[in-house]
Amino acid sequence: MAELAQGRISNIQLVLLLTGFLLGTSILILPGGDIHPDTWLAFLLGCGQGLILAFIYLALARRFPGQTFVKIAEAVWGRYIGKIVSLAFLWYVFHAGALTTTNFLDFIKVSILPSTPAMLLVLMLVGVCAAAVWSGLEVITRCSEVLVPLTILFTLFLALMLIPDFKAANLQPVLQTPLPELLKTSVRVATFPFGETVIFLMILPFLNKQNKSLSSVVIAFALTVFILITGMLRTLGVLGNVAPLYVYPLYQATRSIDLGHILTRLEILTSINFLTMGFIKASVQLFAFVVGLSQFLGLKSDRTLVVPAWLLMSLLGLYNLPGVAETIAFTHTVYPFYALPFEVFIPLATLVVAWLRKLPREGQQP
């Protein structure tokens, strides 16, 4: 059991892993749904709301050190209700992983390889993630140690390269968005991507210093919101009012880079950023699902489920939504409501019940 989680992850590794996870798909599909001059404020508000959610997850993880959410749910809710809660959580993890896969697939189908069969693409994309999961959590975190700093570097480089096309007038008028609209966007940002941190309830038990996890989470959130705001501002500054019309505005903005006809076609860096961060996100989701389902079913080995989970997640990725427009519309409209029970109600209720029942009791194996 738990062969996949051999080796502990340090706090700096948690920062990079969580940053990679949060940037995952949001580095290409800007969260919130709209791009307007006040979106940066919605990102900050959403990050703040996400931090409140993260406090709940961390409080739960600290109350039950070394336990994944599947075990915590069983300890708090009892055997039968605990199983139902775990199953709901595992469905969310699996479905979120499949949605990441769909985003991967849509982007590659639309922008890079339109004629390649979707099944082949999705099996190869998630296959890389499955290989990482098979090798264990330590390999995924080490990948994030290399890939996340590169992504930050590429993002800053692209922002610099876009300075000649940047029009500050496109960022005006400032603070004109009505407050309800701004709050609505911030809630969307809180659920996607920040609230998805709930999946780390399957990762946090493998931290070597649980008591320092809060600072790691705060740093990861700050890094993510910085990258997202940089991406949003540069996109809006370059594309202006037409930015919301594009499916992938960040990608479209970088297409306009042309420095002396030498530095051109730099959108490949945006593609690399998306593919690498998407790899981290999908790997974490696949890992969480495999470990969670193994514990749920009481299997002897975690590795048993890696290959079936790879195939099934790829297939659900194909059967999620019929097209890219529907996927993006789902992310911005229905997903905040759909994710609410899994990101807020279940962890919060579990924490409250654990507190009321004074769990874990002294002398009891947590």
Binding site: H95, A98, L99, T102, M119, L297, G298, L299, K300, S301, R303, T304, L305, V307, P308, A309, L311, L312, L315, L316, L318, Y319, N320, L321, P322, E326, F330, T333, V334, F337, Y338
Partner: protein
């Protein structure tokens, strides 16, 4: 294409089956075979052109029916 999928899934099973048998856990073996069987059936159905409903589209329909005013 069905033959390619059969060979592919068969190859994956052949690679992992010895380690599962060595593990000696009937529950592991059964779970693995059931899930691989499900994946194989879904892959074959897609390949032969059987249209399966989109999972998230169904979720969207349910949410729009319940929370239509807010979405």
């Amino acid at each position: 294409m069905v033959i390619v999928i059969t060979v592919f899934v068969g190859m994956l099973v052949c690679l992992q089956l010895p380690s599962l048998l060595k593990l000696g856990s009937r529950r592991d073996l059964l779970t693995y075979l059931i899930l691989m069987g499900l994946a194989y059936i879904l892959m074959v159905l897609r390949t032969v052109g059987v249209h399966l409903p989109y999972v998230t589209s169904a979720i969207v329909r349910v949410f729009k029916a319940v929370l239509g005013r807010f979405i």
